[in-house]
Assembly symmetry: C2
Homo-oligomer: 368 residues x 2
């Protein structure tokens, strides 16, 4: 069956009250759907994206060739089967693919917010999505699925909207961002902030798209290290030399250097530096227990059937961090959760790259 991709942007004029006490008003949310909503609206699956993801999770648009970021996972006959489910993925607020973010015009001016954009949190991202779903007259969904920052959102949904999702599947994430992950974000943030071409936030986005932003490229390179593992890098790159300009030349490049350069500089063509700062901030301050006496108290709120999937060699969010969620749930008497550590040498990106290792688990978990 056809994937039936539809992309849309909703405009909201009521204020969005943020966790910080500030408001966003007005704001837009861009989202994409796949498949068909059934009559009793019981077949909705929400997909939450990661740091640099977007609403474009599956398929390709007409006349374009950019495939959705989780296309191997979502589609006709795939783990999240669009023949059966009506799938929605929204671009988070703070991002740069249509939903309101730091480079959106600050009403009533036509000037971008830049640093005047409020700090948003994962809870805020989830709240905005919940409002969108109400607007779409969807008040209950079959499942919410996400990995990395998407997995944070999925858990946040479970705690703050306990009656919303029957099932939650959260992968490759944590209950509160740990120092190691904050450190990687710090390198990226510092590299962006100190790049003179960032112009202390007053850059021309068009210039950056065309000429790149070295600081953001450097930061993204650090990010890529955290997405892989020592083992997968060895497997992928080894000590292969990319250029034949001689072993002893100071700027000869190993394959891995070339990979980081390409991905680092290319990234600056399609992602906004201020969005990167705001979203990494949201990730750093993410903590499920905020507003509760403990993680256990927060997790007690969850009513959904919860599936926690970690990857054994995830270097960004260690598998024991997800195990801690499972342990905390058991401690507060939750008997409706499942924890599975998936054996993988790949590292954090396994949730995007090694779909084969968990697709059967997910399609089974999605069954009623």
């Amino acid at each position: 069956m056809s994937l039936n991709i539809k992309t849309n942007t909703k405009h909201f004029t009521n204020p969005l009250y943020l966790e910080s006490g500030r408001i966003l008003e007005p704001y837009d949310i861009t989202y994409e759907t796949y498949g068909t909503l059934n009559e009793d609206k019981s077949n909705v699956v929400v997909i939450c994206h990661a740091l640099t993801g977007s609403h474009h999770a599956a398929g390709t648009y007409e006349n374009e060739n950019k495939i959705g970021w989780w296309d191997s996972f979502i589609g006709s006959g795939k783990a999240v089967d669009t023949d059966k489910y009506f799938v929605i993925c929204t671009n988070v607020i703070g991002s740069c693919f249509g939903s309101t973010g730091p480079m959106s015009p600050k009403h009533p001016s036509h000037e971008p917010y830049r640093y005047k954009f409020p700090v948003v949190t994962i809870k805020d991202m989830v709240k905005a999505q919940r409002i969108l779903f109400s607007e779409l007259d969807i008040h209950k969904v079959h499942a919410i699925i996400g990995g990395s920052m998407g997995g944070m959102q999925a858990l946040m949904f479970g705690i703050h909207y306990p009656d919303f999702a029957s099932k939650i599947i959260s992968m490759a994430t944590t209950h509160a961002t740990q120092a190691w992950a904050i450190a990687f974000n710090k390198v990226a943030q510092e590299a962006i902030l100190k790049d003179p071409d960032f112009k202390q936030g007053y850059y021309d986005p068009q210039v950056i798209k065309e000429s790149g932003l070295a600081g953001m490229a450097v930061g993204r390179m650090a990010g890529h290290i955290s997405f892989l593992s020592q083992e997968s890098m060895r497997e992928k790159f080894g000590r292969e030399y990319r250029l034949t300009d001689g072993l002893y030349e100071l700027f000869g490049r190993f394959q891995v250097e070339s990979y980081l350069e390409y991905n680092g500089y290319n990234f600056t063509k399609w992602f906004d530096p201020l969005s990167y700062l705001y979203i990494t901030k949201a990730i750093n301050i993410y903590d499920l227990s905020r507003g509760f006496d403990s993680l256990g108290e927060a997790l007690k709120k969850i009513k959904s059937e919860l599936h926690l999937l970690s990857f054994s060699n995830d270097q960004l969010f260690k598998n024991f961090e997800m195990k801690e969620i499972s342990d905390a749930l058991s401690e507060v008497g939750n008997t409706n959760h499942f924890y599975k550590d998936i054996q993988s040498d790949y590292g954090h990106d396994a949730f995007l790259v090694e779909v084969d290792k968990f697709k059967d688990y997910v399609s089974e978990a999605l069954k009623n």
Copy 2:
């Protein structure tokens, strides 16, 4: 007994033939000694330093308070007992603490080499040290000890000067730098190269010492991530907030961010950017098997008693990389080596920080 610190610089006018085919001429080597050379010169222990280390491995100079980088390990009554051994540590060529490096004057001019400095390798660093020892009339030593890049030198000594050391103790290192470690170096190199204040190598070192170099600070932050582990960062920093400027401020700082900032920017006051580029290059192209048919063929050359110590949670050079050396030695019939994986959550820096975990092993290994 007194540590008997002596610091000296030897000037060499004969050319140093480098692995690249280029030469250094003339060149200086700065070194430091502790303890007293015995009559038959049988009590020499060579210490090799890591990336940003120096010849100042132990003790403090008069009227200064900077303690040597391995002071907990070397001294009177310590693991490397200076009451017993005559300890020598030399600053590697390419570095910036007295031995010839990229900011040294290029003879016969008084202008620094900068990019005209030749690429040096770990083998070159070792060769220069060997020449220094000959000059000091030392032709055989009791032991060579080093961690990280120091461990690379120790192994390189074993292969290329097989009759030189009775014992070699190499820790927290590898047989050939793997993609993960190269990737961390890449982030640092790129951050330095793209910083406009680096002026494509034509910076004023005094200005950098005073004002810092953001690119090098960012690179060093990435380095610090690789020196620790997820577990030790969690233990050390957790999610503690350093400043009380509010959880939701975009630039509020976690303890770990503050640590990285401090260490990153402070680093630019005491280390030279071009030395950083040259030494990380030397680390990247380090491969014991270069010039041999295989790692085993290289290791066959070793005659010294060899001790290999890895740290279980080293994220920069994984413990299995040292195990591979041990396995390759066994495969070529070497029966005079010992491999020990030291349990530690600390990460790579354990060789500097958790001396208590291996000091007894080392003092035992040093006994005849």
